[in-house]
Amino acid sequence: MALSFFWNLLTTSPADRRRAEWGDGDRAWAPARDAASRRLQINHYDYLTQVARVAELTGFDGLVIPDEPDGEEPWIVTGTLLRETRRLELVTAVAPGSASGVYHAKMASSVQRFSGDRQGWLIDGVRGLSAGDPVVPQDSPVRTGELLTLLEGLWGDGPFDQDGEHFIVEKGGLGGLVKGRRRPPVWLRQSEAPGADLLAHAEVLLLDEARPVDALADLIADARRANPSLRIAALLPLLTRAEERDVAAETAYLAPSPSTLVGTYDTVTENLRGFAAAGLDIAVLSAPDQVREVHIAGEQIIGRFRAVANAA
């Protein structure tokens, strides 16, 4: 049971948000003579790329780059990481209503060409009118299905035609741009309750809501009936420290959500081993104050998990 580890690259948590930001009045202690040049030379993306790099250095297999309404735009974050990371998979949140299907596929072709096929797509079905998306939730699965069919159809020599409700293409195809390239594996969110027809197009199902461990095995079995090769990922906020007393102190201070995996390094590692035994393939960990927490997760949790797995 090989469990892969991904990090959920947040761009809005308060602890991370202000890093390398240079708003008026911030960093009053910065020497005045340096302020202008710092503003030109250092920005928030220096921080985000550092989170990505330390995730790579501490053993993570990939990043999920979510689409937070108050955060950075995920395609841009993905793009800035292409030359900054070597091995990490980059799972970009894709909102089907935010671009033409062809354009999403076109951008993906460049990401795959530049990254050595490291991109995946995490589908965010409906975004609502505040994101300029007029499609109502009940029409979203049809649109997502059209997008995934279109992605598969364009990812080849063509010509590919589609005359859908949401996307059209005539004599399409990405041809030489994608020859020998991996189509981005598609992740779907469990919270959007994807049907069997959508799961058939997906490579990964992301459990993005809190679930008791005993329900996990049933859920995984159901999903695999729709698509036997489906891999299962779970979004797992993490709060872990060396000893119970440290955990208690942090819990009192941070008030973690009920879905957060809380405990000592040993406890959390044991929990993850249980998830893996139940069929989980990918743990997507997250925590604010990311450079620090990526190190804790990478060194203490991934380190423990893999050391035992190697010894076994």
């Binding site: 841009i76 974050v77 800035t80 033409s100 460049s110 060409r113 530049f114 505040s130």
Partner: protein
């Protein structure tokens, strides 16, 4: 008055010489004598890609004094948004002029992507908004709209994108877009809107440009025709109380002497296959700009000299590589003189290109631009 000089980033391969039509730089051609095959070492993937070559072109352009570069977008090119984001941190001052059509992205997403990219680049994003084209290529892109509809959409797209970015929460229900209380988060909203370069030659395009463009961008056309077009755009814009600048996108072949420059053209021309010449007249699409340039008799030319349109202006570039027909050919002094002439006719900005793009960025930056009237050229040292 200062003039901005941009370079072009070839987004679908480059050639080591304008004498050859094939793209021997980039991973589209197999390893062969004279080919750069990025991405392979001893036949195995080596972790580099064509992106790395584009990074070197961008760096050559910023080193040699260009303010940035145009990233064209066609079906078989790499994508300008992805390239710009990936090269944000590989460059320092280079501005990314992103070519895109409103049909590609919805305006809220475009605002978010642009503002995030402004943050990643410290404000180095420029737009080249394209609406023309049309025909079968438009449906390849998955865009069903007809020509004049598309300009209406471009105008509405820019209204909504600017509204969401600068006047959020923004509500709009129009012919093409609907948003409700859309806004960017404060960190993104405080970024500047990109400067807008706008292309398109039809009446519908000129109307849209007058409303939203900072620069009206044209391919090189016969000088008198271009001067007239610029005049028309400036008048149209003034009528609605705005100002607009004009820009020209032009390829150059500049050498120490006239003879050397024209020898490149002659060798390029004799390498063109007969069927390429025939094919030139048969372009598809409903772009007015393309129609204007295809009446110049290229298909019948049997000698490169048949295509000299005016002093130092050659009309056969589209035979040597995809793109506009007219370009400037000549000695460093004469190329500079033609650019000065265009500045005199109303050009405020140029997007220059030459093959091979990497080495020629140095040549044009070092040999041609310094010969222009010094007050007219915005070079890095002038800004110090």
């Amino acid at each position: 008055m200062s003039i901005d000089f941009y370079w072009r980033i070839p987004t679908h391969g480059c050639s080591s010489s304008i004498r050859e039509r094939s793209f021997n730089r980039g991973d589209w051609s197999p390893l062969a004598p004279g080919n750069q095959a990025p991405g392979l070492a001893n036949g195995e993937p080596d972790g580099t890609s064509y992106l790395d070559h584009m990074a070197e072109i961008a760096r050559a352009a910023e080193i040699s004094g260009f303010v940035g570069g145009l990233l064209p977008s066609f079906p078989m090119t790499d994508d300008p948004w992805v390239i710009s984001a990936a090269l944000a941190r590989a460059t320092k001052a280079f501005r990314f002029m992103i070519a895109f059509q409103p049909g590609f992205l919805d305006p809220v997403r475009a605002a978010r992507m642009s503002a995030s990219l402004q943050r990643a680049t410290n404000g180095r994003v420029v737009y080249n908004i394209i609406t023309g084209g049309g025909g079968p290529s438009q449906r390849w892109w998955g865009d069903p709209f007809h020509h004049d509809d598309r300009y209406g959409r471009t105008t509405e797209f820019l209204d909504v994108m600017k509204g969401v970015w600068k006047d959020g929460p923004y509500t709009h229900k129009g012919r093409f877009y609907e948003v409700e209380n859309a806004a960017l988060p404060p960190a993104l909203a405080s970024e500047d809107l990109p400067t807008v370069y706008f292309s398109g030659s039809s009446e519908a395009a000129l109307q849209s440009a007058a409303r939203h463009a900072d620069y009206y961008l044209s391919w090189l056309e016969p000088f008198a025709q271009l001067a007239q077009k610029f005049e028309q755009v400036k008048t149209r814009t003034a009528e609605i109380g705005r100002g607009i600048k004009c820009a020209i996108r032009v390829e150059v072949v500049a050498r120490r002497t006239e003879e050397e420059a024209w020898r490149e053209i002659e060798l390029g021309f004799v390498n063109v296959k007969a069927e390429s010449r025939e094919a030139f007249g048969g372009r598809t699409g409903d772009s007015v700009g393309v129609r204007r340039l295809s009446g110049l008799g290229v298909a019948d030319a049997r000698d490169y000299r048949d295509l000299i349109v005016s002093p130092n202006v050659w009309g056969g570039f589209s035979l040597l590589r995809p793109g506009p027909a007219l370009g400037i050919v000549g000695s460093y002094e004469n190329v500079a003189a033609r650019l000065d002439e265009l500045i005199g006719l109303g050009a405020d900005s140029f997007i220059l290109a030459a093959t091979p793009h990497l080495e020629e960025a140095y040549r044009v930056g070092e040999e041609v631009l310094p010969l222009l009237g010094h007050s007219a050229v915005q070079r890095l040292e002038a800004a110090e």
